[in-house]
Amino acid sequence: MAEAALQVFGLTRRYGARVVVDDLHLQVEEGDVYGFLGPNGAGKTTAMRCMLGLIRRDAGNVSFFGESDPVAARRHIGAIIETPSFHPWMSGRANLAQATAYAGLTPKESGVEIDRVLERVGLSERAKDRAGTYSLGMKQRLGIARALIGRPRLMMLDEPTNGLDPRGMAEMRELIRSLSLHDRITIFISSHLLAEVQAMCNRIGIIQHGKLRAEGRVEELLGLGIGESTLEIGSPDVDALRAALAAIVGVDVLGQGRSGRVIVRPNEVKPEELNARLNAAGVAVSAIVPTERNLEDVFLEVTR
């Protein structure tokens, strides 16, 4: 059986008495696009830094592709933690040359590799410009290019779309998708943009107060809890609707949905039967639709 791309076991990090990452366990399989979610201050970036060996961990083990020695493991990894930093007085190309040396490439190999990664992120034309003159979007792309040096099998991206305009976000999203699909790189991505994560990732972990609160495939997580078989019912007269629903045996009123709709769990009552009963009770029904659950609902539910 293939080794997991990333395996985290009991990872813990404290700052004084405060436990920022608390006995974190997670596993990312090769080929996954894993979304690492959590509210601000949940410990995502600290956990990623611990995994990469940038900061000390107080307990736990981390291995990448079965390799737990951090120096050896980093051969498999490309990473961007927060905004990538560059030497602003050096060209984009010169910045990448630094990275190729640290990746163990010879000067001859370096030129070829730099051309490849620049081409991959679409920065070839600006490669000779000083990195200090790059826009944020270009810096992010240069960061991806740098992370791609040495052909990593896993990329760890911490908020890669942070601060980008909508076009920049879309380009970045497309690039990440393409890295997964075409370059077959396993992706571990932390982001606040839940819709984006839902669209890109196949597996998700949600962290809060340093602990993993939920983990699984996206469709599994979306199928959890109240969303499994609920309906949203709309009516011009919400009070009458609520009163009529309360009188129907077997239907549970769960709460308020979007646009003033009422969320119910119909249990054994079919939607057409429910519609008929409401009409019989004199309630005008404008909509009966299955509740659409998205990652935001799951996230809010898990982290409330």
């Binding site: 940038l54 930093s85 030497h87 040396a101 990746a103 163990g104």
Partner: protein, 300 residues
């Protein structure tokens, strides 16, 4: 997949990066200018003195500061080397060295570019060693560039003669002192992890060292003139001669004795075994502190 990085490759990359820094380019440019200008200045002065031996007492005085009391004939390649070293000290090469070391360590820590290096398949010891060696290349350039340019130009313009061996060994001692000093600044830079902290820490070291040196000099003078004994006697105290002797004996081991082995603008010290030992100890101690700090710090 990445190969195993070689130390030589990383040092080369770090040296290239350092060479692209404005502070480094500026320092080397000034050194080159001084290395060219100094022998030319000596040549002009020598020509003027030879051409007007009777009247140019003022100019002869200037020459005398460079080639003491020997007259124009003593102005030669050795004088050129010494005069370039004089300017090397005078324009405070070490001040610029502090700046270069500060931006290479604390500056990269604060700027978060250090993070990008340690994210690669290299140990922190390798990263530190590569950056230290790149700084040492700069230190070496700071000595070799003036010696080569000043020496060759001095030879061409002023001819042979003088104690070239002594001049070159002084340059060697200056180089060794600069190398040790850079290592100490590296340790301060990593301990403070801030550019102002590096500069402030180094200034504090300098002030502390000079005050301690003055204090020990005063103590030595007081002992030699019998003032210490009189002081203890005035208070009916037993003289603490072994203790005062111990402290006085420490003076040759102060950092300034270690890093200023050659006579310079600021020091007339000449290298003794204590100075060499102190240089080795301070350099090794600073390297050990830097290594320990670098291997333990969190790199954001």
């Amino acid at each position: 997949m990445s190969a195993t990085p070689s130390l030589a490759g990383i040092v080369r990359a770090e040296t290239v990066k350092l060479s692209l820094r404005t502070s480094v380019r500026l320092t080397l440019a000034v050194l080159i200018l001084l290395s060219i200008g100094s022998p030319i200045l000596l040549f002009l002065v020598k020509s003027m003195v030879v051409g007007a031996t009777v009247t140019t007492t003022t100019t002869a005085g200037v020459v005398a500061t460079v080639a003491p009391a020997q007259g124009p004939a003593a102005v030669n390649v050795a004088s050129a080397l010494e005069s370039v070293r004089f300017f090397h000290d005078l324009f405070l090469f070490r001040t610029l060295l502090i700046a270069v070391v500060a931006v290479s360590f604390a500056g990269e820590f604060v700027g978060r570019t250090l993070r990008e290096d340690v994210l690669r398949p290299v140990s922190r010891t390798q990263v530190l060693l590569a950056k230290w060696l790149a700084i040492q290349v700069f230190v070496a350039a700071g000595a070799l560039v003036p010696v080569l340019i000043g020496g060759l130009l001095g030879l061409a313009l002023l001819g042979t003669g003088g104690d070239v061996t002594a001049a070159l060994s002084s340059w060697g001692l200056t180089w060794a002192g600069d190398a040790g000093f850079a290592t100490m600044v590296m340790a301060i830079s990593l301990a403070t992890r801030s550019v102002p902290g590096t500069i402030g820490g180094t200034v504090l070291y300098w002030v502390f060292d000079k005050m301690l040196r003055l204090l020990l000099l005063a103590l030595e003078a007081a002992r030699d003139q019998g003032l210490l004994e009189k002081l203890f006697a005035a208070y009916n105290l037993k003289p603490l001669t072994p203790i005062s002797d111990f402290f006085i004996a420490l003076r040759p081991f102060l950092p300034s004795s270690a890093f200023d082995l050659a006579p310079s603008v600021f020091s007339s010290a000449s290298a003794g075994w204590q100075g060499f030992l102190a240089l080795a100890l301070y350099t090794a101690g600073s390297a050990a502190v830097a290594w320990r700090v670098f291997n333990r710090i969190d790199i954001d």
